[in-house]
Symmetry: C2
Subunit: 186 residues, 2 copies
DNA sequence: AACATATGAGACACTATTGTATCATATCTT
DNA sequence: AAGATATGATACAATAGTGTCTCATATGTT
């Protein structure tokens, strides 16, 4: 399964990179623009992705896989929930733009079962982590777990905004997010 | 200036309501869909808005004006920064969907000078409020003010998500946001 | 080197959207 | 009630995007 030709892999990667970049700044970017920006013929795009929807969904899957890949090392460390969360921010903040991509094209991405499966799994994991934090006493049990998950995601969003508009580094953004989350700003 | 005919006002309102609603769930909604959803002829839409961009920008201006209008009562109360912020969440949370609208179509809205002027003014006000909080001791001075502003916005986003996906009420969302912001969740 | 195949360029048909114009009719203003 | 005007329906032209196909060429594979 899957084509192994180096040319295919190369143009696929170029297309996906261009797709993320262009769709991030303009969710209505045309396939023609994306192909051009990738330095690839428009026909090649259609050879790899049946439609605009499929491209977006493939990009969404890639975002989730990248996230999983970045977080994989944490699985073995057996850290506390709080430490795990802190590391999560540090590891994911550099790819905060990917989360914004997912958000801005979610109405398309969510139609793909594969995307939804990945989303639900990672949501489940995060809920579990938050509830572990509650048990360990590092997270206030009176908060709704869904709120907490949502809060964590929105802190990634804050980071993305600060990195893009205020020249904040991922490292600093992650530290701000961690401090804000656990201690508040009061 | 401005047309005072009741019919114009009515169809303009219908179009803007439909625009917010449709563009919120699908930023690529066509003008035909918007006109239909507004129960108005497509030609009427073109009579009121020269282009898609102008419609979006008019909607963005409306969002900012609505925000300003909701916050106006606070001006006279001379509350502390902390109390003002708390009231801000309570007053704005019911219109959190408008902020998501602005975010999702920001690439278009930001091209309008009027939108940018409103945005900058309200950003300025919020920065001032945050810095007042720092002086009053209710906000940790070690945080970057821009980060704090960004955090406040992203808490509105959290509220929007919880209201739309988890049936949270605006009131509860606002209270969660306030508690999370000032005290953190740790 | 010989073969296989992915690619770019271009032509093509098709659709959706956009934006303009017209005109009889309904609704508002005065 | 009479006049003014906004509206809906419709037709229309222009454009942009989509998706398919072909074929000579460049590039990988073996």
């Amino acid at each position: 399964m899957g084509n192994t030709d180096a040319r295919t892999a190369r143009s696929r990667k170029a297309l996906m990179d261009a797709g993320i970049e262009l769709l991030l700044q303009n969710p209505a970017a045309s396939l023609k623009e994306i192909a051009e920006h990738a330095g690839v013929g428009r026909a090649t795009l259609y050879r790899q992705f049946e439609s605009r929807e499929q491209l977006v969904q493939a990009l969404a899957v890639e975002c989730f896989e990248l996230k999983e890949q970045k977080l994989a090392p944490l699985k073995d460390l057996n850290l506390s929930a709080r430490e795990t969360l802190e590391q999560t921010f540090m590891l994911l903040m550099p790819m905060a733009d990917r989360f914004h991509f997912l958000l801005s094209l979610w109405n398309i991405a969510e139609q793909d079962p594969e995307v939804m499966a990945l989303y639900n799994r990672q949501l489940f994991d995060l809920v579990a982590l938050v509830e572990k934090g509650k048990k360990e006493g590092s997270i206030d049990s009176s908060f709704d777990s869904n709120w907490l998950v949502c809060l964590i995601d929105s802190l990634m969003f804050s980071g993305w905004w600060m990195m893009g508009n205020m020249h904040m580094t991922p490292d600093v953004a992650a530290k701000h997010a961690i401090k804000s989350l656990f201690s508040g700003v009061g």
